[in-house]
């Protein structure tokens, strides 16, 4: 579904991605983990061309997004929904208006049709009652849910999540995890999640990819990931108190 071919990206002297090759399959939940500054969000931003590679190419099925013209970009980006780290809701619009925004700006749907679709999405993320509220009147977890409702309102095939559980307490984090899993099960979407919350990754991923030093050092299903002998993976697991057996250390 999404394929990186020898993608290289540098910011000044710092090479963040170094000839990265990776393929994300249709229908899977692909979770990218790694320490801060290792290039997780940079990888995600390349998928929707908020960043362009210095070298290499990125394909979304047969479309090369890294070299697409403006018109093709619109068509390719329409396949994506994105939940940004801080939800990126427009502060002067209510939750309902934020979710309705892409429908109002991009489709010819009537106001009645929009109301029905927005209500469906808000219901799916458990925010039916929060429609009239403004982003600064709701909690961080609710903002993420509203951001997710906006991400799915155009019925995308792929949803990208940038740190969906950062800044949230463990209970809310797990509820966001369940939502991500629901999106895969109920909507059949392909998900790419960037996180450094390994508990979350182990719960939702079909495959986990660990990025370090500009490369993916490990890409495997959760059960294999926690058994990885790669020192970077081991260090990351130990830092979050996760053993090879998958149980919690006291």
């Amino acid at each position: 579904m999404i394929r990186f071919e020898k993608v290289t990206k540098s910011f000044g002297p710092q090479r963040v991605l170094d000839r990265v090759d990776v393929e994300i399959n249709k229908g899977e939940t692909f979770v990218i983990v790694g320490s801060s500054g290792m290039g997780k969000s940079v990888t995600l931003k390349h998928m929707i061309r908020l960043l362009t590679p210095d070298e290499g190419r990125i394909f979304v099925e047969n479309d090369c997004i890294s070299e697409a013209n403006e018109r093709d970009m619109v068509r390719i980006r329409d396949r994506f929904g994105v939940l940004f780290q801080n939800a990126a809701l427009l502060a002067w619009l209510s939750v309902f208006e934020n979710v309705a925004l892409p429908l109002r700006e991009r489709t010819a749907m009537t106001e009645e049709e929009i109301e029905v679709r927005v209500a469906e999405c808000l219901d799916l993320v458990g925010l039916s009652a929060a429609g009239p509220k403004y982003p600064d009147e709701i909690s961080g977890g609710m903002r993420k849910r509203a951001g997710l409702a906006r991400a799915i309102v155009m019925k995308p095939e792929i949803i990208l999540y940038d740190e969906p559980t950062s800044g949230l307490d463990p209970v809310i984090s797990r509820s966001i995890d369940r939502l991500i899993d629901d999106m895969r099960v109920k909507l059949g979407v392909t998900s790419v999640v960037v996180t450094h919350d390994l508990h979350s990754a182990l719960g939702i991923a079909t495959r986990i990819a660990m990025i370090a030093g500009g490369h993916f050092v490990e890409i495997s299903p959760p059960a294999d990931f926690i058994r990885s002998s790669h020192p970077e993976v081991q260090e990351f697991l130990e830092a979050q108190y996760i053993t090879r057996r998958g149980s919690w250390e006291s």
Partner: protein, 272 residues
């Protein structure tokens, strides 16, 4: 759809003073080019005013720009007219020519002070607020979200602001001229012994239609300049809260400078 977000640019520090100067000049030209393209895209996007939602957005900006700026424009313009009348009146009184303060106030307000003061007030109040708002949206990824949703930020954010300032700056400039002339008349009547009738006769006698048109043209240019610089600085914001502060500051400084430079050239074009 025009991409307004930029990837972070990195360049090694210049090795010599001349190299630094050259890079500074190239950066300046690049920014002027980017801002000009943004203005052109915003003007081209005005065709979307036929869509009700875009029109509503422009009306909201008209309210923010016009109605909310009215009190400060009233006070500043009124007192400017009063100061102009007092300063020129005291000098003219030495030659018993104080009745001519009407012409002095009217011509200076129409040609220069009206558009210039309105431009500065709007740059400091409305422009800075636009720069800060768009800068905050940039660093909180709201602009990125719009681009990913293929909602054109130029049509959605820049165009309504351009329309609002292009309409409101000339209107407020005319209003500030009227307020300035009234302020001058008040000083004439109370401090210099010039009756309202004599003052207004004198003020309208030598004022030319050309003064009005050129003043309005200046105000229109200033409005477009302020909106463009505010949006351009906002979209170029990086580095969090400090970056938003910088974008706000730069919006005001650059707008002031460009207003002064453009004002001079328009005057030169029409009066020399």
């Amino acid at each position: 759809m025009r991409t307004v977000l930029r990837e972070p640019a990195y360049a090694p520090p210049p090795e010599t003073f001349i190299q630094g100067l050259g890079r500074g000049a190239l950066d300046l030209l690049f920014e002027i080019g980017q801002a000009t393209l943004l203005m052109a895209a915003g003007i081209a996007a005005m065709r979307y005013l036929v869509v009700r939602r875009s029109r509503d957005s422009a009306v909201r900006q008209l309210y923010i720009t016009g109605v909310k700026s009215l009190p400060v424009v009233t006070v500043v313009a009124g007192f400017t007219g009063m100061i102009l009348a007092l300063q020129t009146g005291l000098e003219l009184r030495k030659f018993s020519q104080e009745v001519n303060i009407g012409t002095a106030v009217m011509v200076s307000m129409l040609r220069e002070m009206g558009p210039f003061m309105t431009g500065l007030i709007l740059a400091a109040s409305v422009g800075s607020s636009m720069g800060a708002q768009i800068g905050t949206m940039t660093i909180s990824e709201e602009i990125a979200a719009l681009e990913v949703m293929s909602i054109d930020p130029v049509r959605f954010l820049v165009m309504p602001r351009l329309v609002a300032l292009a309409i409101m700056t000339p209107l407020l400039s005319f209003y500030s001229t009227v307020m300035g002339v009234l302020g001058g008349g008040l000083v004439g009547a109370t401090q210099l012994g010039v009756s309202w009738t004599a003052y207004l006769d004198n003020a309208t006698k030598y004022a030319d239609n050309k003064d009005l048109y050129v003043g309005m043209l200046k105000a229109l240019c200033f409005g477009l300049i302020i909106a463009t610089i505010a949006c351009h600085q906002g979209f170029a914001t990086t580095k969090g809260a400090v970056g938003v502060g910088n974008a706000t500051r730069m919006t005001v400084i650059v707008s002031f400078l460009v207003i002064l430079i453009v004002g001079y050239f328009i005057t030169r074009l029409f009066y020399v």
